[in-house]
Amino acid sequence: MFKQLLLAQRQYRQISALGRRRHAYCQSGLFSASVGSLAHSRTASKRPLCIGRQSYSARLPHRQQQLQPPQRQRHDQSGGEGEGEGEGGSANKACWHCQQQNSPASLLCKNEKCAVIQAVGKGVNYYDVLLAGRPPSFEIDAAELRRNFLRSQQAVHPDSFSQRGQIERRLAEVQSSWINHAYATLKDPLHRAQYLLKLRGMEIGEADQIADPELLMEIMDTREEIEEATTDAQIAAIKARNDANIAAVTTGLASAFGSDALSRARQLTNRLQYLRRVAQAVHVWEPGKPVVISH
């Protein structure tokens, strides 16, 4: 999903560059609005009438002025410099259309006459947009998160932007996928914990090793138990035990993050990751078939 986000961002930059070039070309006054005058131009055969390709809204008076290039977007989800007291760490962003200063987490320009969709703010974290800028915490109100998510998507979903210009459409795509990613991250306790660790600079990297042999032995034994299980009753027992472990770890994570014990939180996050894999294995288990989980 993150890769799609980057791709959308790259596409948006390419298309927006193309849009700017085309707009400048149309504004350059090298040709008139009649078809015949373009017969000699090389582009005539490919694009017969540039001005005809501008949408109605693009020819409105307030749109005729040169559109400023949009803010250079960086989906800085680490937010190392951006998190804190809401807008404290991240700079206000200027609207690409009317230059009005907006808060970094805003989705639409607050200028009533403008109200265009904004780019994702630099250094903005998921809590700024989906949980009203509250300090990042492990315990969240799931109902509020869902409400804010649905409300945000109503504002930025690309389906509502199908009749708008290219820049707005691209921004809508990027915003919408960013918000989807934010919601998925904050909704799931494991991803939320990993995100919180990332915000505090203690991200679990791919090259990290586990320093806890007891955890590994426990997980190894459980996975082998699942492989050797032959009846549903055995699997149900393993599942019950695993679910209880997951509940205990989630409670532990809440208190660890609450008391800012980050190394303990990191340990518990690792444990939760392994317990989740066990839960996946239990879920896909079928008698007589090898357990294969993909990630």
Binding site: I204, G205, E206, A207, D208, Q209, I210, P213, L215, L216, M217, I219, M220, R223, E224, T269, N270, Q273, Y274, R276, R277, A281, S294, H295
Partner: protein, 160 residues
Amino acid sequence: MFSIVKQLAPRRLPSATFTKPVAAFVQSRFYHEKVIDHYENPRNMGSLDKHDPTVGTGLVGAPACGDVMRLQIKVDDNGEIVDVKFKTFGCGSAIASSSYITERVRGMNIDDALKIKNTDIAKELCLPPVKLHCSMLAEDAIKSAIKDFRMKRDGALRTA
């Protein structure tokens, strides 16, 4: 020119992989045929008796993806690895890396086995960049197994 590029970027995969088919190298979802071979026909899968004083057990895990790998080696008095078994719960690349490393260390001296680098494993299996950490896990597994064996042996010598 190409050799200068190689020196400047020592962590990248060696040049041999650049001549391989693009699909196998670029797409992490399309496993290379060597990885598939190790996955479907794993070599030396199983376990040894961990209480045996000549057996060293290495147990490592990658927290980012939730993989766990166990590598056991049986070492004789000359320091030669006479038997090796592995068990891995993880993705195909992790299973292939551990399967390959068991093939590689069989018959090696433990001092030579310590010198195996993850880049050798990645090069042999043509692992894509996104799966390089699997080969690192295999390298750590063999190091951990040898360390465990040495601790056991030194402990036995002290008590003897």
